[in-house]
Amino acid sequence: MNNFTVEAIELTRLYGGREAVSNVSFTLSKGEVLGFLGPNGAGKSTTMKMLTGNLAPSNGSVKICGIDMMENPKEAKALIGYLPEMRPLYKELTVDEYLTVAARLHRVSSSNIKKAVEIAKERCGLGHMSKRLIENLSNGYQQRVGIAQAIIHNPMVVILDEPTVGLDPIQIRDIRALIRELGSDYSVIISTHILPEVEMVCDRVQIIDKGKLVFNGAIDVLKKQRVGNKLLIGMHNPPSVDAMLKIAGITEAEALAGGLMRVRFAEDATPAEAIVQAAVKHNWGLHQIAPDQTSLEDVFMQLTYQEQSEF
Protein backbone atom coordinates (compact mmCIF):
# COMPACT_ATOMS: atom_id res chain seq x y z
CA MET A 1 0.00 0.00 0.00
CA ASN A 2 1.58 3.25 -1.09
CA ASN A 3 0.76 6.45 0.73
CA PHE A 4 -0.37 8.61 -2.14
CA THR A 5 -3.35 10.72 -1.19
CA VAL A 6 -4.33 11.39 -4.79
CA GLU A 7 -3.69 9.21 -7.78
CA ALA A 8 -4.91 10.29 -11.18
CA ILE A 9 -4.43 7.61 -13.76
CA GLU A 10 -4.62 8.49 -17.45
CA LEU A 11 -7.52 10.88 -17.00
CA THR A 12 -9.20 11.77 -20.25
CA ARG A 13 -12.31 13.81 -20.77
CA LEU A 14 -14.01 14.32 -24.10
CA TYR A 15 -16.42 17.15 -24.82
CA GLY A 16 -18.20 16.29 -28.03
CA GLY A 17 -15.18 14.57 -29.54
CA ARG A 18 -12.74 17.29 -28.45
CA GLU A 19 -10.31 16.30 -25.74
CA ALA A 20 -10.54 18.83 -22.92
CA VAL A 21 -8.16 16.77 -20.82
CA SER A 22 -6.11 14.00 -22.31
CA ASN A 23 -4.11 11.35 -20.56
CA VAL A 24 -3.26 13.26 -17.41
CA SER A 25 -1.56 11.13 -14.77
CA PHE A 26 -0.03 12.27 -11.51
CA THR A 27 0.22 11.45 -7.84
CA LEU A 28 0.27 13.51 -4.69
CA SER A 29 1.63 12.59 -1.27
CA LYS A 30 0.55 13.73 2.14
CA GLY A 31 1.63 17.21 3.14
CA GLU A 32 2.35 18.43 -0.37
CA VAL A 33 0.93 21.52 -2.03
CA LEU A 34 0.48 21.00 -5.73
CA GLY A 35 0.04 23.96 -8.03
CA PHE A 36 -1.97 23.43 -11.15
CA LEU A 37 -0.93 25.93 -13.73
CA GLY A 38 -2.16 26.66 -17.19
CA PRO A 39 -3.65 29.27 -19.49
CA ASN A 40 -7.41 29.79 -19.68
CA GLY A 41 -9.24 26.80 -21.04
CA ALA A 42 -6.32 24.45 -20.57
CA GLY A 43 -8.37 21.93 -18.64
CA LYS A 44 -7.48 22.82 -15.04
CA SER A 45 -11.03 23.05 -13.79
CA THR A 46 -12.11 20.00 -15.77
CA THR A 47 -9.35 17.96 -14.17
CA MET A 48 -10.36 19.19 -10.73
CA LYS A 49 -14.00 18.33 -11.37
CA MET A 50 -12.94 14.81 -12.25
CA LEU A 51 -10.78 14.53 -9.15
CA THR A 52 -13.72 15.49 -6.96
CA GLY A 53 -16.27 13.28 -8.69
CA ASN A 54 -18.28 16.17 -10.11
CA LEU A 55 -17.58 14.97 -13.62
CA ALA A 56 -17.15 11.43 -14.85
CA PRO A 57 -13.91 10.92 -16.78
CA SER A 58 -14.30 9.51 -20.29
CA ASN A 59 -11.31 7.33 -19.55
CA GLY A 60 -8.94 6.67 -16.69
CA SER A 61 -9.55 6.68 -12.97
CA VAL A 62 -9.07 8.65 -9.79
CA LYS A 63 -8.05 7.19 -6.47
CA ILE A 64 -8.22 9.10 -3.22
CA CYS A 65 -6.09 7.44 -0.53
CA GLY A 66 -6.44 4.24 -2.51
CA ILE A 67 -10.24 4.44 -2.80
CA ASP A 68 -11.56 4.48 -6.35
CA MET A 69 -13.81 7.46 -7.09
CA MET A 70 -15.90 5.49 -9.59
CA GLU A 71 -16.47 2.42 -7.46
CA ASN A 72 -16.85 3.96 -4.00
CA PRO A 73 -17.77 7.57 -4.64
CA LYS A 74 -19.15 8.18 -1.16
CA GLU A 75 -16.07 6.95 0.68
CA ALA A 76 -13.74 8.79 -1.69
CA LYS A 77 -15.72 12.03 -1.53
CA ALA A 78 -15.66 11.95 2.25
CA LEU A 79 -11.88 12.40 2.08
CA ILE A 80 -12.00 15.47 -0.16
CA GLY A 81 -12.71 19.10 0.49
CA TYR A 82 -13.47 21.01 -2.69
CA LEU A 83 -13.87 24.68 -3.45
CA PRO A 84 -14.98 25.08 -7.08
CA GLU A 85 -14.20 28.12 -9.15
CA MET A 86 -17.64 29.55 -8.49
CA ARG A 87 -18.14 29.53 -4.75
CA PRO A 88 -21.04 27.23 -3.89
CA LEU A 89 -22.49 29.40 -1.14
CA TYR A 90 -26.11 29.51 -0.04
CA LYS A 91 -26.29 33.25 0.34
CA GLU A 92 -29.54 33.30 2.28
CA LEU A 93 -27.89 31.51 5.20
CA THR A 94 -25.57 32.91 7.85
CA VAL A 95 -21.96 31.77 8.08
CA ASP A 96 -22.71 29.52 11.04
CA GLU A 97 -25.79 27.99 9.42
CA TYR A 98 -23.97 27.34 6.18
CA LEU A 99 -20.97 25.73 7.84
CA THR A 100 -23.27 23.58 9.98
CA VAL A 101 -25.01 22.35 6.83
CA ALA A 102 -21.62 21.66 5.25
CA ALA A 103 -20.46 19.73 8.31
CA ARG A 104 -23.64 17.68 8.42
CA LEU A 105 -23.51 16.79 4.74
CA HIS A 106 -19.87 15.77 5.13
CA ARG A 107 -20.78 13.30 7.85
CA VAL A 108 -19.29 15.12 10.80
CA SER A 109 -20.87 13.40 13.80
CA SER A 110 -23.53 15.56 15.39
CA SER A 111 -21.65 15.91 18.68
CA ASN A 112 -18.64 17.34 16.86
CA ILE A 113 -20.41 19.75 14.53
CA LYS A 114 -20.19 22.78 16.81
CA LYS A 115 -16.51 22.20 17.39
CA ALA A 116 -15.77 21.60 13.71
CA VAL A 117 -17.55 24.83 12.77
CA GLU A 118 -15.58 26.77 15.40
CA ILE A 119 -12.25 25.35 14.25
CA ALA A 120 -12.96 26.01 10.57
CA LYS A 121 -14.00 29.59 11.33
CA GLU A 122 -10.92 30.19 13.41
CA ARG A 123 -8.58 28.85 10.75
CA CYS A 124 -10.14 31.02 8.09
CA GLY A 125 -10.39 34.13 10.27
CA LEU A 126 -14.18 34.19 10.27
CA GLY A 127 -14.77 34.25 14.04
CA HIS A 128 -16.47 37.66 14.14
CA MET A 129 -18.63 36.95 11.05
CA SER A 130 -20.60 34.04 12.53
CA LYS A 131 -24.01 35.69 12.53
CA ARG A 132 -23.69 37.59 9.27
CA LEU A 133 -25.59 36.56 6.17
CA ILE A 134 -23.17 35.27 3.54
CA GLU A 135 -24.85 37.55 1.02
CA ASN A 136 -23.65 40.61 2.94
CA LEU A 137 -20.02 39.54 3.23
CA SER A 138 -17.29 41.00 1.05
CA ASN A 139 -15.79 38.99 -1.75
CA GLY A 140 -12.75 38.05 0.32
CA TYR A 141 -14.78 36.87 3.27
CA GLN A 142 -17.06 34.86 1.00
CA GLN A 143 -13.94 33.18 -0.34
CA ARG A 144 -12.89 32.36 3.21
CA VAL A 145 -16.29 30.83 3.87
CA GLY A 146 -15.74 28.75 0.74
CA ILE A 147 -12.41 27.53 2.07
CA ALA A 148 -13.85 26.91 5.54
CA GLN A 149 -16.53 24.76 3.92
CA ALA A 150 -13.83 22.73 2.19
CA ILE A 151 -11.82 21.96 5.35
CA ILE A 152 -14.63 21.53 7.86
CA HIS A 153 -14.57 17.73 7.85
CA ASN A 154 -10.77 17.43 8.13
CA PRO A 155 -10.34 15.95 4.68
CA MET A 156 -7.17 14.27 3.52
CA VAL A 157 -7.13 16.29 0.32
CA VAL A 158 -8.16 19.90 -0.17
CA ILE A 159 -8.80 21.00 -3.73
CA LEU A 160 -9.14 24.72 -4.37
CA ASP A 161 -9.93 26.02 -7.83
CA GLU A 162 -8.46 29.51 -8.33
CA PRO A 163 -8.76 30.51 -4.68
CA THR A 164 -7.35 34.03 -5.02
CA VAL A 165 -9.25 35.31 -8.04
CA GLY A 166 -10.83 38.71 -7.55
CA LEU A 167 -9.39 39.44 -4.13
CA ASP A 168 -7.46 42.50 -3.01
CA PRO A 169 -3.70 42.17 -2.34
CA ILE A 170 -4.07 41.91 1.43
CA GLN A 171 -6.72 39.24 1.15
CA ILE A 172 -4.60 37.39 -1.39
CA ARG A 173 -1.70 37.42 1.06
CA ASP A 174 -3.93 36.08 3.84
CA ILE A 175 -5.39 33.35 1.69
CA ARG A 176 -1.94 32.30 0.53
CA ALA A 177 -0.75 32.09 4.11
CA LEU A 178 -3.81 29.99 4.88
CA ILE A 179 -3.08 27.66 1.98
CA ARG A 180 0.51 27.23 3.16
CA GLU A 181 -0.81 26.42 6.61
CA LEU A 182 -3.28 23.90 5.21
CA GLY A 183 -0.42 22.32 3.26
CA SER A 184 1.26 21.21 6.44
CA ASP A 185 -1.73 19.11 7.53
CA TYR A 186 -3.46 18.10 4.32
CA SER A 187 -2.56 17.48 0.72
CA VAL A 188 -3.58 20.57 -1.18
CA ILE A 189 -4.17 21.08 -4.88
CA ILE A 190 -4.68 24.62 -6.07
CA SER A 191 -5.16 25.84 -9.59
CA THR A 192 -4.22 29.27 -10.74
CA HIS A 193 -2.86 31.22 -13.64
CA ILE A 194 -0.96 33.61 -11.42
CA LEU A 195 2.61 32.38 -11.59
CA PRO A 196 4.23 34.07 -8.58
CA GLU A 197 1.48 32.55 -6.47
CA VAL A 198 2.65 29.08 -7.38
CA GLU A 199 6.19 29.99 -6.43
CA MET A 200 5.01 31.25 -3.07
CA VAL A 201 2.75 28.46 -1.91
CA CYS A 202 3.48 25.27 -3.83
CA ASP A 203 5.96 22.45 -3.37
CA ARG A 204 5.22 20.98 -6.73
CA VAL A 205 4.00 22.36 -10.01
CA GLN A 206 2.11 20.92 -12.88
CA ILE A 207 1.68 22.88 -16.03
CA ILE A 208 -1.19 21.85 -18.19
CA ASP A 209 -1.80 23.15 -21.66
CA LYS A 210 -4.49 22.14 -24.11
CA GLY A 211 -5.44 19.26 -21.86
CA LYS A 212 -1.96 17.79 -21.73
CA LEU A 213 0.51 17.77 -18.89
CA VAL A 214 3.60 19.61 -20.16
CA PHE A 215 5.54 19.91 -16.91
CA ASN A 216 5.40 18.02 -13.65
CA GLY A 217 8.04 18.52 -11.01
CA ALA A 218 9.25 20.25 -7.88
CA ILE A 219 9.03 24.01 -7.76
CA ASP A 220 12.85 24.18 -7.41
CA VAL A 221 13.27 22.71 -10.87
CA LEU A 222 11.14 25.45 -12.29
CA LYS A 223 13.03 28.08 -10.33
CA LYS A 224 16.36 26.77 -11.62
CA GLN A 225 15.10 27.07 -15.14
CA ARG A 226 14.45 30.73 -14.68
CA VAL A 227 17.84 31.70 -13.24
CA GLY A 228 19.93 31.25 -16.39
CA ASN A 229 23.63 32.06 -16.73
CA LYS A 230 22.95 35.60 -17.70
CA LEU A 231 23.98 39.05 -16.53
CA LEU A 232 22.47 42.40 -17.32
CA ILE A 233 25.04 45.20 -17.39
CA GLY A 234 24.32 48.91 -17.59
CA MET A 235 27.06 51.28 -18.78
CA HIS A 236 27.29 54.95 -19.74
CA ASN A 237 29.87 54.27 -22.46
CA PRO A 238 29.09 50.76 -23.62
CA PRO A 239 31.83 48.96 -25.51
CA SER A 240 31.33 46.99 -28.70
CA VAL A 241 30.02 43.47 -28.46
CA ASP A 242 33.40 42.13 -29.57
CA ALA A 243 35.20 43.89 -26.72
CA MET A 244 32.85 42.26 -24.25
CA LEU A 245 33.30 38.80 -25.75
CA LYS A 246 37.06 39.05 -25.06
CA ILE A 247 36.43 38.70 -21.31
CA ALA A 248 37.02 35.11 -20.22
CA GLY A 249 33.92 32.99 -19.79
CA ILE A 250 31.50 35.10 -21.80
CA THR A 251 29.96 33.18 -24.63
CA GLU A 252 27.41 35.60 -25.96
CA ALA A 253 26.72 39.31 -25.68
CA GLU A 254 23.85 41.38 -26.89
CA ALA A 255 23.65 45.14 -26.90
CA LEU A 256 20.33 46.56 -25.76
CA ALA A 257 18.93 50.07 -25.90
CA GLY A 258 19.92 52.62 -23.22
CA GLY A 259 23.52 51.41 -22.73
CA LEU A 260 22.38 48.03 -21.44
CA MET A 261 24.04 44.82 -22.45
CA ARG A 262 22.96 41.25 -21.79
CA VAL A 263 25.73 38.66 -21.60
CA ARG A 264 25.51 34.94 -21.35
CA PHE A 265 28.38 33.05 -19.75
CA ALA A 266 29.56 29.46 -19.58
CA GLU A 267 28.08 27.09 -16.99
CA ASP A 268 30.97 27.17 -14.46
CA ALA A 269 32.34 30.67 -15.12
CA THR A 270 31.87 33.66 -12.80
CA PRO A 271 32.75 36.60 -15.02
CA ALA A 272 31.20 39.38 -12.94
CA GLU A 273 34.46 40.42 -11.33
CA ALA A 274 36.34 40.42 -14.65
CA ILE A 275 33.63 42.56 -16.21
CA VAL A 276 33.85 45.12 -13.41
CA GLN A 277 37.64 45.25 -13.71
CA ALA A 278 37.45 45.69 -17.48
CA ALA A 279 34.84 48.39 -17.06
CA VAL A 280 37.07 50.36 -14.71
CA LYS A 281 40.10 49.91 -16.95
CA HIS A 282 38.38 51.00 -20.12
CA ASN A 283 36.22 53.62 -18.51
CA TRP A 284 32.88 52.09 -19.62
CA GLY A 285 31.06 53.99 -16.90
CA LEU A 286 29.50 50.92 -15.24
CA HIS A 287 26.41 51.78 -13.17
CA GLN A 288 24.55 48.48 -12.93
CA ILE A 289 25.30 44.78 -12.97
CA ALA A 290 22.80 42.11 -11.96
CA PRO A 291 21.84 38.54 -12.78
CA ASP A 292 19.25 38.55 -15.50
CA GLN A 293 16.36 36.37 -14.38
CA THR A 294 13.93 34.98 -16.82
CA SER A 295 10.56 35.59 -15.30
CA LEU A 296 8.39 32.64 -14.46
CA GLU A 297 6.13 33.89 -17.21
CA ASP A 298 8.90 33.31 -19.73
CA VAL A 299 9.50 29.77 -18.52
CA PHE A 300 5.78 29.19 -18.71
CA MET A 301 5.67 30.61 -22.22
CA GLN A 302 8.59 28.43 -23.23
CA LEU A 303 6.94 25.31 -21.91
CA THR A 304 3.61 25.96 -23.52
CA TYR A 305 5.28 27.20 -26.70
CA GLN A 306 7.31 23.99 -27.10
CA GLU A 307 4.09 22.11 -26.97
CA GLN A 308 2.60 24.23 -29.71
CA SER A 309 5.61 23.84 -32.01
CA GLU A 310 4.99 20.12 -32.15
CA PHE A 311 1.91 20.64 -34.27
Binding site: T52, G53, A56
Partner: protein, 248 residues
Protein backbone atom coordinates in the same frame (compact mmCIF):
# COMPACT_ATOMS: atom_id res chain seq x y z
CA UNK B 1 -28.28 11.77 4.87
CA UNK B 2 -31.67 12.28 3.18
CA UNK B 3 -32.76 14.02 6.36
CA UNK B 4 -29.74 16.33 6.27
CA UNK B 5 -30.48 17.45 2.72
CA UNK B 6 -34.15 17.91 3.66
CA UNK B 7 -33.16 19.99 6.69
CA UNK B 8 -31.01 22.17 4.47
CA UNK B 9 -33.99 22.73 2.14
CA UNK B 10 -36.31 23.60 5.00
CA UNK B 11 -33.73 26.00 6.39
CA UNK B 12 -33.53 27.72 3.00
CA UNK B 13 -37.32 28.04 2.77
CA UNK B 14 -37.61 29.57 6.23
CA UNK B 15 -34.46 31.72 5.90
CA UNK B 16 -36.38 34.09 3.63
CA UNK B 17 -39.86 35.53 4.25
CA UNK B 18 -41.10 33.42 1.32
CA UNK B 19 -41.84 30.33 3.41
CA UNK B 20 -43.65 32.20 6.15
CA UNK B 21 -45.63 34.35 3.71
CA UNK B 22 -46.84 31.34 1.76
CA UNK B 23 -47.82 29.48 4.93
CA UNK B 24 -49.77 32.42 6.31
CA UNK B 25 -51.46 33.37 3.04
CA UNK B 26 -52.60 29.83 2.36
CA UNK B 27 -53.82 29.35 5.92
CA UNK B 28 -55.72 32.61 5.61
CA UNK B 29 -57.45 31.34 2.45
CA UNK B 30 -58.27 27.97 4.02
CA UNK B 31 -59.49 29.67 7.19
CA UNK B 32 -61.82 31.92 5.22
CA UNK B 33 -63.28 28.97 3.34
CA UNK B 34 -63.70 27.07 6.58
CA UNK B 35 -65.60 29.97 8.11
CA UNK B 36 -67.76 30.39 5.02
CA UNK B 37 -68.39 26.66 4.97
CA UNK B 38 -69.69 26.69 8.54
CA UNK B 39 -71.93 29.71 7.80
CA UNK B 40 -73.25 28.21 4.59
CA UNK B 41 -73.95 24.92 6.31
CA UNK B 42 -76.70 26.42 8.40
CA UNK B 43 -78.14 28.42 5.53
CA UNK B 44 -78.25 25.41 3.23
CA UNK B 45 -79.39 22.86 5.78
CA UNK B 46 -82.23 24.98 7.05
CA UNK B 47 -83.52 25.08 3.46
CA UNK B 48 -83.10 21.32 3.00
CA UNK B 49 -86.40 19.81 4.01
CA UNK B 50 -86.05 16.19 3.02
CA UNK B 51 -83.58 14.00 4.96
CA UNK B 52 -81.94 12.84 1.70
CA UNK B 53 -80.78 16.39 1.00
CA UNK B 54 -79.00 16.66 4.31
CA UNK B 55 -75.29 16.00 4.61
CA UNK B 56 -73.07 15.92 7.67
CA UNK B 57 -71.20 19.01 8.73
CA UNK B 58 -67.82 17.29 8.25
CA UNK B 59 -68.52 16.44 4.66
CA UNK B 60 -70.02 19.82 3.88
CA UNK B 61 -67.25 21.95 5.34
CA UNK B 62 -64.32 19.66 4.62
CA UNK B 63 -65.26 19.24 1.00
CA UNK B 64 -65.15 22.98 0.35
CA UNK B 65 -61.83 23.35 2.18
CA UNK B 66 -60.14 20.34 0.56
CA UNK B 67 -61.52 21.28 -2.85
CA UNK B 68 -59.95 24.69 -2.49
CA UNK B 69 -56.73 23.22 -1.13
CA UNK B 70 -56.21 20.90 -4.09
CA UNK B 71 -56.82 23.84 -6.42
CA UNK B 72 -54.52 26.26 -4.59
CA UNK B 73 -51.72 23.71 -4.37
CA UNK B 74 -51.75 23.67 -8.16
CA UNK B 75 -50.35 27.22 -7.97
CA UNK B 76 -48.42 27.00 -4.73
CA UNK B 77 -46.35 23.89 -5.43
CA UNK B 78 -44.80 25.12 -8.70
CA UNK B 79 -43.81 28.34 -6.91
CA UNK B 80 -42.12 26.39 -4.14
CA UNK B 81 -40.60 23.62 -6.24
CA UNK B 82 -39.20 25.85 -8.97
CA UNK B 83 -36.14 26.84 -6.96
CA UNK B 84 -35.15 23.38 -5.75
CA UNK B 85 -32.61 22.54 -8.43
CA UNK B 86 -32.72 25.31 -11.02
CA UNK B 87 -31.70 27.90 -8.45
CA UNK B 88 -28.73 25.74 -7.44
CA UNK B 89 -27.84 25.35 -11.07
CA UNK B 90 -27.98 29.09 -11.63
CA UNK B 91 -25.96 30.07 -8.59
CA UNK B 92 -23.60 27.13 -9.22
CA UNK B 93 -24.05 25.57 -5.82
CA UNK B 94 -24.70 22.07 -7.12
CA UNK B 95 -21.00 21.09 -6.79
CA UNK B 96 -21.43 21.63 -3.05
CA UNK B 97 -23.90 18.74 -2.96
CA UNK B 98 -22.16 16.67 -5.64
CA UNK B 99 -18.80 16.71 -3.87
CA UNK B 100 -20.29 15.83 -0.49
CA UNK B 101 -20.35 12.13 0.37
CA UNK B 102 -24.00 11.65 -0.61
CA UNK B 103 -25.47 9.88 -3.62
CA UNK B 104 -27.62 11.57 -6.23
CA UNK B 105 -30.63 9.58 -5.06
CA UNK B 106 -30.13 10.93 -1.57
CA UNK B 107 -29.87 14.49 -2.88
CA UNK B 108 -33.10 14.17 -4.90
CA UNK B 109 -34.99 12.36 -2.15
CA UNK B 110 -33.74 14.91 0.38
CA UNK B 111 -35.02 17.81 -1.67
CA UNK B 112 -38.32 16.03 -2.22
CA UNK B 113 -38.75 15.22 1.45
CA UNK B 114 -37.86 18.81 2.36
CA UNK B 115 -40.58 20.26 0.16
CA UNK B 116 -43.19 17.68 1.14
CA UNK B 117 -42.40 18.25 4.81
CA UNK B 118 -43.04 21.96 4.32
CA UNK B 119 -46.36 21.30 2.58
CA UNK B 120 -47.30 18.74 5.22
CA UNK B 121 -47.38 21.57 7.74
CA UNK B 122 -50.33 22.98 5.79
CA UNK B 123 -52.06 19.63 5.60
CA UNK B 124 -51.72 19.08 9.33
CA UNK B 125 -53.01 22.60 10.00
CA UNK B 126 -56.03 22.06 7.78
CA UNK B 127 -56.85 18.79 9.55
CA UNK B 128 -56.45 20.49 12.95
CA UNK B 129 -58.66 23.38 11.87
CA UNK B 130 -61.42 21.04 10.70
CA UNK B 131 -61.10 18.99 13.89
CA UNK B 132 -62.16 22.05 15.90
CA UNK B 133 -65.68 21.36 14.60
CA UNK B 134 -65.66 18.49 17.06
CA UNK B 135 -66.00 20.94 19.95
CA UNK B 136 -69.71 21.48 19.30
CA UNK B 137 -70.50 18.65 16.94
CA UNK B 138 -69.68 15.00 16.50
CA UNK B 139 -67.56 14.86 13.35
CA UNK B 140 -66.42 12.09 11.07
CA UNK B 141 -62.64 11.86 11.60
CA UNK B 142 -62.32 9.10 9.01
CA UNK B 143 -63.45 11.55 6.35
CA UNK B 144 -60.80 14.08 7.36
CA UNK B 145 -58.08 11.43 7.50
CA UNK B 146 -58.94 10.11 4.04
CA UNK B 147 -58.94 13.64 2.63
CA UNK B 148 -55.64 14.45 4.34
CA UNK B 149 -53.99 11.34 2.93
CA UNK B 150 -55.38 12.17 -0.52
CA UNK B 151 -54.22 15.76 -0.38
CA UNK B 152 -50.85 14.68 0.92
CA UNK B 153 -50.37 12.23 -1.95
CA UNK B 154 -51.56 14.88 -4.39
CA UNK B 155 -49.07 17.53 -3.24
CA UNK B 156 -46.31 14.93 -3.09
CA UNK B 157 -47.03 14.12 -6.74
CA UNK B 158 -47.04 17.82 -7.59
CA UNK B 159 -43.71 18.18 -5.82
CA UNK B 160 -42.12 15.25 -7.64
CA UNK B 161 -43.18 16.68 -10.99
CA UNK B 162 -42.02 20.16 -9.97
CA UNK B 163 -38.67 18.79 -8.85
CA UNK B 164 -38.16 17.14 -12.22
CA UNK B 165 -38.97 20.28 -14.21
CA UNK B 166 -36.71 22.23 -11.87
CA UNK B 167 -33.83 19.93 -12.78
CA UNK B 168 -34.31 20.61 -16.48
CA UNK B 169 -33.60 24.32 -16.51
CA UNK B 170 -31.50 27.08 -15.01
CA UNK B 171 -34.40 29.49 -14.80
CA UNK B 172 -36.73 29.00 -11.82
CA UNK B 173 -39.53 30.88 -13.58
CA UNK B 174 -39.36 28.58 -16.58
CA UNK B 175 -39.51 25.60 -14.23
CA UNK B 176 -42.56 27.07 -12.49
CA UNK B 177 -44.42 27.69 -15.73
CA UNK B 178 -43.63 24.25 -17.12
CA UNK B 179 -44.68 22.61 -13.87
CA UNK B 180 -47.91 24.55 -13.75
CA UNK B 181 -48.82 23.76 -17.35
CA UNK B 182 -48.02 20.06 -16.91
CA UNK B 183 -49.97 19.83 -13.65
CA UNK B 184 -52.91 21.71 -15.06
CA UNK B 185 -53.04 19.40 -18.07
CA UNK B 186 -52.91 16.35 -15.80
CA UNK B 187 -55.62 17.78 -13.57
CA UNK B 188 -58.15 18.49 -16.28
CA UNK B 189 -57.30 15.51 -18.45
CA UNK B 190 -60.36 13.56 -17.36
CA UNK B 191 -62.67 16.45 -18.36
CA UNK B 192 -61.83 15.76 -22.00
CA UNK B 193 -63.00 12.19 -21.60
CA UNK B 194 -66.16 12.93 -19.67
CA UNK B 195 -68.20 10.89 -22.14
CA UNK B 196 -65.89 7.91 -21.96
CA UNK B 197 -64.74 7.45 -18.35
CA UNK B 198 -63.10 4.09 -19.06
CA UNK B 199 -60.55 5.66 -21.43
CA UNK B 200 -56.94 4.89 -20.47
CA UNK B 201 -55.82 8.48 -20.92
CA UNK B 202 -58.50 9.68 -18.56
CA UNK B 203 -57.18 7.46 -15.80
CA UNK B 204 -53.84 9.28 -16.02
CA UNK B 205 -55.58 12.34 -14.60
CA UNK B 206 -54.43 13.32 -11.12
CA UNK B 207 -57.83 14.74 -10.26
CA UNK B 208 -59.65 11.51 -10.97
CA UNK B 209 -57.50 9.66 -8.45
CA UNK B 210 -57.95 12.40 -5.89
CA UNK B 211 -61.72 12.19 -6.20
CA UNK B 212 -62.10 8.92 -4.34
CA UNK B 213 -60.11 10.35 -1.42
CA UNK B 214 -62.23 13.47 -1.37
CA UNK B 215 -65.38 11.37 -0.95
CA UNK B 216 -63.72 9.67 2.01
CA UNK B 217 -62.59 6.49 0.27
CA UNK B 218 -59.01 5.22 0.61
CA UNK B 219 -58.48 3.11 -2.51
CA UNK B 220 -55.25 1.12 -2.80
CA UNK B 221 -55.40 1.52 -6.58
CA UNK B 222 -55.27 5.30 -6.24
CA UNK B 223 -52.46 5.09 -3.69
CA UNK B 224 -50.52 2.91 -6.14
CA UNK B 225 -51.09 5.48 -8.88
CA UNK B 226 -49.69 8.32 -6.78
CA UNK B 227 -46.75 6.26 -5.55
CA UNK B 228 -45.87 5.27 -9.12
CA UNK B 229 -46.25 8.87 -10.27
CA UNK B 230 -43.88 10.09 -7.58
CA UNK B 231 -41.35 7.31 -8.18
CA UNK B 232 -41.32 7.96 -11.91
CA UNK B 233 -40.54 11.65 -11.63
CA UNK B 234 -37.99 11.22 -8.85
CA UNK B 235 -36.19 8.60 -10.95
CA UNK B 236 -36.23 10.91 -13.95
CA UNK B 237 -34.74 13.67 -11.79
CA UNK B 238 -31.93 11.40 -10.58
CA UNK B 239 -31.19 10.45 -14.16
CA UNK B 240 -31.19 14.08 -15.25
CA UNK B 241 -28.65 14.96 -12.56
CA UNK B 242 -26.55 11.93 -13.42
CA UNK B 243 -26.43 13.17 -17.01
CA UNK B 244 -24.82 16.35 -15.65
CA UNK B 245 -22.01 14.31 -14.19
CA UNK B 246 -21.57 12.20 -17.32
CA UNK B 247 -21.94 14.86 -19.98
CA UNK B 248 -20.79 17.88 -18.02
Amino acid sequence: MIINVARKELKSVFASPMGWVILSLLMFAFGTYYLNGVNDYFAVMSGAMRPAERTGVTQFVAQTVYGLASFIMLFAVPLLSMRLISEERRSQTLPFLFSAPISLTEIVLGKFVGLVAFLSILIVFIALMLSTLNIWSDIDFGFIIANSIGLWLLVASFSALGLYFSSLTQQPVVAAILTFVALFALMILDRFFAGDPSNTLASLSLMRHFQSFSSGLIDSGDIAYFVLFITTFLTLTVRRLDADRLRG
